[in-house]
Structure formats: structure tokens, C-alpha cells
Symmetry: C2
Amino acid sequence: MSIGAQNKNERHLTEKLSTSGFRFTPQRQQVYDVILHKRDHPTAEEVFIRAKKQMPEISHATVYNCLDALVKCGLVRQVQLERGATRFCPNMEEHCHYHCGACGKVFDMALPKNFTDMPQPKGFKADHYDIAVHGLCADCANKRKN
Amino acid sequence: MSIGAQNKNERHLTEKLSTSGFRFTPQRQQVYDVILHKRDHPTAEEVFIRAKKQMPEISHATVYNCLDALVKCGLVRQVQLERGATRFCPNMEEHCHYHCGACGKVFDMALPKNFTDMPQPKGFKADHYDIAVHGLCADCANKRKN
DNA sequence: TGGCTTATTTAGAACTATTCTAAATCTTGA
DNA sequence: TCAAGATTTAGAATAGTTCTAAATAAGCCA
């Protein structure tokens, strides 16, 4: 990522944090950087390990705190694909997660615009959509055939 | 539920279990009955508590084992709505879960038939869809307004 | 700037959800 | 009926997350 893009992300982060009543901290920046850098839907534990490389004193609880703050201020989404650890994703567009049950990889796909026009319980106020497709990715589907 | 419906469910259960290589057991029937009886998307813990009323010696591990068997033979779906416990649902139609973040209630809504026509990664073999909408149910949305 | 208030971080304990283990008990098929 | 294998059980172990209390850092106001 270029220096220009980094500055842009940092401004964006500071702004979003403060409008939700959070402070900017180096830990929050570090956690956000990790999530932006490798968009493979890491778990909190994976974010912790990656963040520790740059910031060895960061603690587990801080990573959870930072992730919560980032989710609450709308910079990151939580994704629950299966039993076990929650994953995190910086793609805030409406999109769908294709999850391979064999290798565990997750693929994002944008959704058609009218996608969220669906029948709704009377009076329900929708906030956000979680759409996942479980199955086998091309590679794993091929391996299984043979 | 009528006796007739119970027998039908039991036949269905035996058949589905055996085609997936599982045996019929009273515990599996009990767990399935619990899930069919009150369709409020209980967690494994809640299923355990309800099953214990009829079958006091049933153990925790057995409930997990039974739930896994029911999921694998296609009678029950797992639903991951948030961090924390997995919920279980006997509705095997393609449907969408509306989840109220305030009271925790979950509402099922059937999906339009063409709903799963969405862009897909090349070669992906889809198995099943998990579609959730998070927000506020009518009651909770009203309470919040005041 | 200095001091006050409050948010955040930290390590580690605690807790919740789930899986594992090994022994006992059932089921099924020969 | 017997052997092989599946299932159940209690309880231990593990994974993921949250809580706690003390230390530190940030923002605010005089």
C-alpha cells in the first residue's frame, strides 16, 4: 500500500472512531491495518498473531477490544461461517461469502443491487445482511472428483 | 402434535439416519422431537435442558452427537447468528433468518424461488445457503422509538 | 502547560461452548 | 448367541471470548 493510501486510511479510521465515541489509538490502527492488509477473513487469533509481529506488546484482550470498536464504528464486519471462531472482513459493500467446507477459503462476491428486496416480517427494521454460501471451491471440487 | 404425525416423523427420522449410515436411537429421536416441538432456534444447551425433562439421563455429549447426526443426515440445520452458541432449526426449506439484536428472537421467512441465482466464483459447487438479516423486530423497534 | 477525568491497555483469571476420552452399553449382522 | 462396531455416559480437556483490576495514555479545561 502506498503512503498516500495509508494516510487516507488513517484519516478515515480517526474520523469513524470519533463519530462513534471511540479514541484513536495505535493499537486500533494496527489491528485495522492487519485486516486491510491481508483480506483472507482472519479470526481474532490470527489478527492477534499478525498484529504482534509489528507490535509485540499487544495483548489478546486489546485485539478483541479493537475489533469490537472497528465493528461498532462500521469499518469491519464480523462473519460467522461455522461453529468456532468469528472471522473479520473489511469489505463493507453488500456482498456474499462463498465458503469452501474442504479448505476453509472464503471468497467475496458482490451482490446484485436488488438482492435485499426480500419478504420481511412486518415492522422489522433491517440493519445488515449476512449472506453465505457453503460448498466446495473449484479446486476442492476437482480433487474430490478423482 | 398428533400420534399420526409423530409416527410419520419417526419413520422419516429412521430412514434419513440410516441412509447416512447412522443408527436410530431413542436419544436421537428425543433430540429431534425437542427441535420439532418448539421451533425457536434453540442452542445445544437449550436442547439439552429440554431433552433432559423427558430423558433425565441424557448427557451433554450425546446432545452434541445427536445434533451432529441430524445435521449430517439433512433433518436439521445449524444457524450461526452471532458470536457464541450455535442454534438449530428443523426448517429445511430455503429460508431467511431475521434476527432481532435487542430481544434475540429469530423469525423465519421463505425465500423467493429465484433467490439463489447470484454471481458465483468460477467452479464453485454450492451446497447450502445461509441468509440472515440482523436488525430490530417490530416490538423492539417501537420500544426504542419512545 | 498541568492536573483531572475517562478511555484504553495489559496480563491473567474466569467463563462459555464445544470436543475429546475411555469405559460401559447397546445394535446389528453373521 | 457372539463378535464387531456404534453409541452413550461422565467428566476432563480445549478453544474462543469476556471479565477484572491495576497501570497507562488521551483529551479537556483552567
